[in-house]
Amino acid sequence: MGAHTSTYVPTTRWGKWFDERLPIARVVRNQFIDYPTPRNLNYLWTFGGILTLILVGQIVTGVILAMHYQPSATGAFDSIEKIRRDVNYGWMIRDFHSVGASMFFLAVYIHIFRGFYYGSYKAPREVLWILGVLIMLLMMATAFMGYTLPWGQMSFWGVTVITNLFSALDTIYNGLGTAIVEWLWGGYSVSGVTLNRFFSLHYLLPFVLTGVVGLHIWALHISGQNNPTGLDLKEPSDCVPMHPYATSKDAVGIFAFLLLYAWFVFFLPDYLGHADNYIEANPLVTPPHIVPEWYFLPFYAILRAFTSSFLGIPLGQYAKLCGVVAMFSAVIIIAFAPWLDTSRIRSSKYRPIFKWFFWFFVITCVSLGYLGSKPAEGVYVTAAQIFTVCYFLFFLVIMPIVGLIETPRAMPRSITEAVLGKGGAGLPAGATAAPEVR
């Protein structure tokens, strides 16, 4: 429904003059006011708006923090303390930024699970979905580099562990991995040089991210939003204009989410972080447990599941390489969901078997998250290996096979029928003026 007819008519001469030269008001009117949205969207569809707001918030707080932050091995830790103690409301800006990273991932994970449940990745939304995966990758890179900046013990050792992953390439071509790692570090170990370049990239990537978000929204407005039935928009009564209908619902979702966000900022600013990061980085002292931020834990669990043997399969010197490949694959594979899922039915509402496997996938991800926070020993490793298999099984086996064997439930003919029941294809008695005719 992206190419609906424009109803924008400039009312002033100046408006007409400007519209002929740069039709920005026309685009806003067509895409964000009159734009037809499915009438049956639930609150899970407010997360796009929530994420946009968080992105803007992270950039605003980040720019302010950068005014006071010193990206050097000797100054970074102290400058964060200066921000917290001496900058006016610096503690608040800093907590909004650090908690904001967690909230960003919380919202994006809900957004992605929503996509899985309602089949939002299927045709014609494949490009939209792939752009989404790219956004998640950029978010991960940005968050990882951002976590380096306080230059605490977890910052330092987190970077050391993660950048060292690339040295696994040495098992393919001797010296290749080491060369890449030293290139990333800008030296022979993680140092102030590394911190400096990570700061530069941490400032750059959010703007790249914003650009990709722009494409993501563009692609969304070409194919139109998916909805809980997964049906295409077929008739005018299937949809309502974005404003005031979708916008009023988005506003509720955004403010409800801000409530959770504020709770963490004002009452639990340290809860999502790690105490060790209040100790300044020390290359000579390794913390007992090196744990990434919670949002990386499922992927960290997959990485560490590959020990010298994986469920009885000996890996030997390739263990680390397998772990690294598996971890990156775990993210990349999401981009292939549109082609791995063979079912043409989008919404799990009408997919009796896939619905259960969706929850199986959610449990798998949460379990991996839990295991990622535990030391890599004993039963935890075995469990992580089993859930790693489950994770890839979902994409490579369940998605293709369930689509082939499943008999979908009876589906309504249209969104209108889903909402109003059979025979109520027209407008409900109470609706006087059809909202789509403004």
Binding site: W91, M92, S248, V252, F266, Y271, Y278, P428
Partner: protein, 286 residues
């Protein structure tokens, strides 16, 4: 109503789990109990008198080895902290045993001077090496952030884990550092007979490895309180931990006060927006 029953059941189950969880926590680490801090939870605020007593303990005992480099003397005056009178802190700074190295002066020489209000609260050592040399190889850590840089590790069973997490989030609990330091300061004792203690180390039941280089710092009556608070190790420990918690998080009082205003604003706005949304959607079945 059909859907409500399982939800109620789930909540009942959750309640039972939370209640049983405390007893089910795995052993291995010595249990570090949660203390009733005045500043804990989502409503907690610092107790002014306690912060002042805590500073006294720091000054008379801890400062013999430990610095507070992220704190300036002026912080002791500012609202939300111990709030000592400015004149008193000026006198305190002037008499502080650990001088500030300043300079170079007109002759190009560095010189020592007493700290001003704007100077950090330094410990007795100029650098880590000097500290280690004086302390038999051990390094007394800076205490400005110690209350946030420590935590209590808990290892509940996996099925209890989410409920404990939700409980902590709902209660606004993040005082693990304070609980740990209190347990450490009161955790000194004679080593058990079968424990091999390294020469010059002290037995502490909560310190990792149970051997700590710091001698038991507190003893009954060691600090003379002016306000009639009983002069016990337990009180000293609680007071100095409260002070260190403030030192690590000087904006805690303001943070929580503003927090409630923000939460209230967001609740009201969310409710209004919800009513508005209901009204807008009133004529449209969805």
């Amino acid at each position: 109503m059909k859907k409500r029953v399982p939800v109620t059941l789930l909540f009942a189950l959750a309640a039972v789990l939370v209640i049983t969880s405390v007893s089910a926590e795995e052993a291995g680490h010595p249990a570090i109990e949660r203390q009733p801090w005045s500043f804990s939870g989502f409503t907690g605020q610092f107790d002014r008198a306690q912060l002042q007593r805590g500073f006294q303990v720091y000054k008379e005992i801890c400062s013999n080895c430990h610095a507070l480099k992220h704190l300036d003397f002026r912080n002791l005056v500012q609202p939300g902290g111990p709030e000592f009178p400015e004149a008193a802190v000026k006198v305190l700074a002037k008499g502080w045993p650990n001088q500030i190295t300043d300079g170079p002066n007109d002759e190009g020489k560095m010189f020592e001077r007493p700290p001003l209000l704007s100077d950090p609260i330094l410990g007795p050592y100029k650098n880590d090496q000097e500290a280690r040399a004086a302390q038999n190889g051990a390094l007394p850590p800076d205490l400005s952030l110690i209350a946030r840089a420590r935590d209590v590790e808990r290892n509940p069973s996996w099925w209890i884990h989410p409920f404990l997490m939700l409980g902590d989030i709902a209660n606004g609990y993040q005082e693990g550092g304070a609980d740990y330091i209190y347990a450490l300061l009161t955790g000194f004792s004679e080593a058990p007979a079968d424990f091999k203690l390294v020469e010059g180390k002290y037995y502490n039941k909560v310190f990792p490895g149970h051997q700590i280089s710091m001698p038991p710092p507190l003893s009954d009556g060691a600090v003379a309180y002016q306000d009639g608070t009983p002069q016990t190790v337990d009180n000293y420990a609680r007071d100095v931990v409260a002070f260190l918690s403030w030192a690590a998080d000087p904006s805690l009082d303001t943070r929580k006060q503003i927090g409630w205003q923000v939460i209230l604003y967001l609740i009201v706005t969310t409710a209004l927006l919800y009513l508005g949304k209901k009204r807008i959607w009133a004529s449209i079945k969805h």
